[in-house]
Amino acid sequence: MKTPVVSVQAVSKWYGQVIGLNDVTVDISSGIIGLLGPNGAGKSTFMKLVAGQLKPSKGTVNVFGQPIWGNSMAYADMGYAPDQDAFYERMTGLEWVTALARLSGLDESAATKAAARALSSVALSDVSGKRIGAYSKGMRQRVKLAQALAHDPRLLLLDEPLAGMDPIGRRRTIKLIREWAQAGKTIVVSSHVLHEIELLTPNILLINNGRILAEGNVHRIRELIDQHPHRVHVRAAAPRVVAQAFLEYPHVISLELEEGAVVVETSRPDEFYTQLTDLAASGSVGLIDEVTSPDDNLQAVFEYLVEQ
């Protein structure tokens, strides 16, 4: 039998009295696996356990057939983009990714080439000489992906990689992640937005309160989530103009203007995200900086699932 790339067996993780993950067993082999759950569900704890940054309180986590905790060798073939927005702000994107590629075992020239290539693949070549501190939220997300990718690992762990990206960056990143999977990488992606996960893969792990609630195809969850209105927070240079454009969409239930942003409630998130991306690409409503989705709609689905 083929050894799974990631094997999590009866793993629990406590933070003092608080349980982060509760008796989770899952094997991940290849392709893209979406880890879906609301904030505080245990997604990041799961990712950190698989990345060897946390030690299981109970159970075992193996990566490439070896326990990951205390096994630094495994990182030669693993790339991890954590959820935290933390960087060496004074370094340029190229310096940072090159330095981390060197730490991954590449020599100076190979590391520089690999870093330039990784930055190019996430469309950051033109700003690679700029300090990370001056990057936008979307650029920061993408440079995090570049550092995870530069040493060409077989396993990629991407914790909320699309959070805060603009629509075009989001579409590009989704395309990239799918290409990496097609190239043979195993990718675990976490998100609290079903729509994002759905665009990446039909294979999901549903997680809530530290437990895996369901594993497998996304369609049933899709049916459930469609029963709940989906809220999207769009930060834009001209929110009133953007809101006016949204008014023409029949699936938009409500609109709320905030300072520098508009909050939309839609009954058809798929359609909305597609239209939003097209709208941003057309440039007719000015710059759209950031799109985020609060997880209250997903939370409602999870509450429903737990009740079942």
Binding site: Y15, S44, A51, G52, Q53, L54, K55, G70, S72, M73, A74, Y75, A76, M78, G79, Y80, P82, D83, Q84, A86, F87, Y88, R90, M91, A99, L100, A101, R102, L103, S104, G105, L106, D107, A110, K113, A114, R117, S121, Q147, A150, H151, D152, E179, W180, Q182, A183
Partner: protein
């Protein structure tokens, strides 16, 4: 060739490059971490604090020199009926001990040494270093090397400045120069030993800065004056034993010796060097071991 296929081919290049180089060894990894973190450390806000601490003795030296130039201070006096002149080399020796070895070096050691890992935890950047195919010990050691370079770059020039400001006051720069070299070596050693102790404290304790300050301003001063073996558990005791040999042997040494009576009982240089080396190695090994096994939970 499409973009995806190009990526794949390029990726194979990266794979091949890594396989060719292999997993970097402990020292190579440490040097790479050192490269990575030196500029971050050097240009941090902490360096401003460090420059202020190291600049204090320089300011004092300038003040003394000004007083001496304008004859506002009398550097001559009488002790036990015989005349005594406090020369520049003697003042310099006293400053090395009182300002640098007993204050600047341990204080900088506390602030930098305890922060080697703590800063990465606080900034949540530790993950990037700990998800590489290098040992966690190499991460700590590389950062420790950066600390050594950083502190030496600030402290040693300050000492050299003080030397050239103070020593010419009734002293001879040429004659005192060998002692400066010894003093610089002594300070470098002090920086290394204190840094390793505070790296251990930083890796071990939840509130390392507080623990480190208690060590510097509580344990060390008390340990060196309490009779018995307690002094053997301080760094200051072993450094004290090296200071007199670094001081100029001129007529004014009597007064300095009187001030620093504790030195008289100091054991041999080799004894002090041996124990300082033991402290350095044991604490560094302890720190790397703790870092290797400790779970760092980065707050969300």
């Amino acid at each position: 060739m499409n973009e995806g296929a190009q990526e794949s081919v390029d990726g194979q290049d990266a794979h091949a490059a890594r396989n060719r180089v292999g997993r970097p060894g402990f020292l190579t990894s440490s040097v790479r971490v050192f490269d990575f973190t030196l500029s971050e450390m050097l240009w941090s806000r902490r360096t401003i604090f460090m420059a202020l601490v190291a600049g204090g003795p320089v300011a004092l030296a300038l003040l003394l020199r000004a007083f001496a130039s304008f004859a506002w201070l009398d550097f001559e006096g009488r002790v036990d009926g015989s005349s005594l002149e406090v020369t520049g080399p003697a003042i310099f020796g006293l400053m090395i001990w009182a300002f640098y070895l007993r204050f600047t070096v341990p204080v900088l050691g506390v602030f930098y040494g305890t922060a080697l890992i703590a800063d990465e935890v606080e900034d949540k950047t530790l993950t990037y270093l700990f998800t590489r195919p290098i040992s966690r010990g190499a991460v700590l050691f590389g950062k420790y090397l950066a600390y050594l370079v950083c502190t030496n770059l600030v402290v040693l020039p300050s000492v050299v400045l003080v030397f050239f400001i103070v020593v010419p006051m009734s002293g001879n720069i040429g004659a005192s120069f060998p002692s400066l070299v010894v003093d610089l070596g002594l300070l470098g050693l002090g920086i290394a030993v204190y840094g390793s102790i505070f790296a251990l404290i930083g890796a071990w304790f939840k509130h390392p800065l507080l623990t480190g300050l208690v060590f510097v301003f509580g344990w060390e001063p008390i340990g060196t004056v309490v009779p018995g073996y307690m002094k053997n558990l301080t760094v200051a005791y072993y450094l004290q034993g090296l200071v007199p040999h670094a001081m100029p042997q001129d007529g004014s040494m009597g007064m300095v010796r009187t001030v620093l009576q504790a030195f008289q009982a100091a054991p041999s240089i080799s004894f002090n060097l041996f124990w300082l080396s033991v402290i350095l190695v044991v604490t560094l090994l302890g720190a790397t071991r703790i870092v290797a096994n400790k779970e760092y939970v980065l707050e969300q």
